[in-house]
């Protein structure tokens, strides 16, 4: 799964630590999601969407050819 977390965070001039605190997870978790190493749970994805005031599908998109 691909995501725009890094871009959205940069647009808001937010650090990984701040986003992690808002989402209630560790900074490493945000880092792993941004790098595509880890796909978040549905509840964390909803939480991130709520933080950025976007729909989940505006942040997370399936990998090409996997949907």
């Amino acid at each position: 799964m691909k995501n725009k977390l890094k871009v959205l965070r940069a647009e808001r001039d937010q650090s990984q630590a701040i986003l992690a605190e808002l989402a209630g997870v560790s900074r490493q978790t945000i880092n792993a999601i941004e790098k595509g190493k880890y796909d978040p749970s549905l509840s964390l994805a909803f939480k991130l969407a709520e933080i950025f005031e976007l729909q989940i599908e505006e942040i997370f998109t399936p990998d090409d050819g996997k949907n």
Binding site: G24, V25, S26, R27, Q28, T29, A32, K37, Y38, P40, S41, L44
Partner: protein
């Protein structure tokens, strides 16, 4: 110097790393002592060298950030459990404690339960990726331990050596650590 580097070199991090080094040294020293029969010598050396290594070297590793207090409780539970475990092992071989031999083997049970409780509490307070890393590490550790223990036991049947069951928990800990490093690398 960036924020992360400053944090890695903070006194709090130094204390944590020293504690981690101490525990790893204790376990490695205990393993060597168990194999060689030099009860105490390698354990003390391991604790001293582990603490020094932790103080000087572990800051270069990008550690997971665990909730405050969680790591401290788990490390304290580890120290208590292994100290009781190896202490009991030592006492069982001493003439002085002969009268206590029927009950001594049960001594590590209570610290063992405390260790399990602390680990369970710690796991429940981790976020979803941290939990996943720990659970995968435990699964890898379990698999490696089972394979090594089975092979080791089979070697005992050949008469090459006398199996020492005390090695199993030590192998378990090091297999879990290997699993931890692997999963940390995977989600780095």
């Amino acid at each position: 110097m960036d924020k992360q580097t400053l944090k890695r070199r903070s006194p709090e991090t130094k204390r944590r790393n020293t504690a981690i080094g101490f525990v790893l040294g204790l376990m490695l020293g205990g393993l060597v002592d168990t194999i060689t029969g030099d009860v105490g010598l390698w354990t003390i050396l391991g604790m001293v060298l582990g603490s020094l290594l932790g103080y000087t070297g572990l800051e270069h590793i990008n550690w997971m950030e665990y909730p405050k207090g969680v790591l401290a409780r788990v490390i304290a539970a580890w120290i208590l459990f292994f100290a009781t475990f190896f202490g009991t092992y030592y006492a069982l071989g001493q003439e002085t404690f002969r009268s206590l031999q029927p009950i001594l083997p049960f001594a590590p049970l209570l610290p063992g339960f405390l260790f399990l409780y602390a680990t369970g509490q710690a796991l429940s307070r981790l976020d979803e990726l941290q939990s996943r890393i720990q659970i995968e590490a435990i699964a890898i550790g379990f698999g490696i331990t089972a394979m090594i223990a089975l092979t080791y036991g089979m070697l005992g049947l050949t008469g090459v050596h006398q199996p020492n069951w005390m090695l199993v928990p030590v192998i378990m800990v090091f297999s879990w650590l290997a699993g931890k490093f692997w999963t940390r690398w995977k989600y780095r």
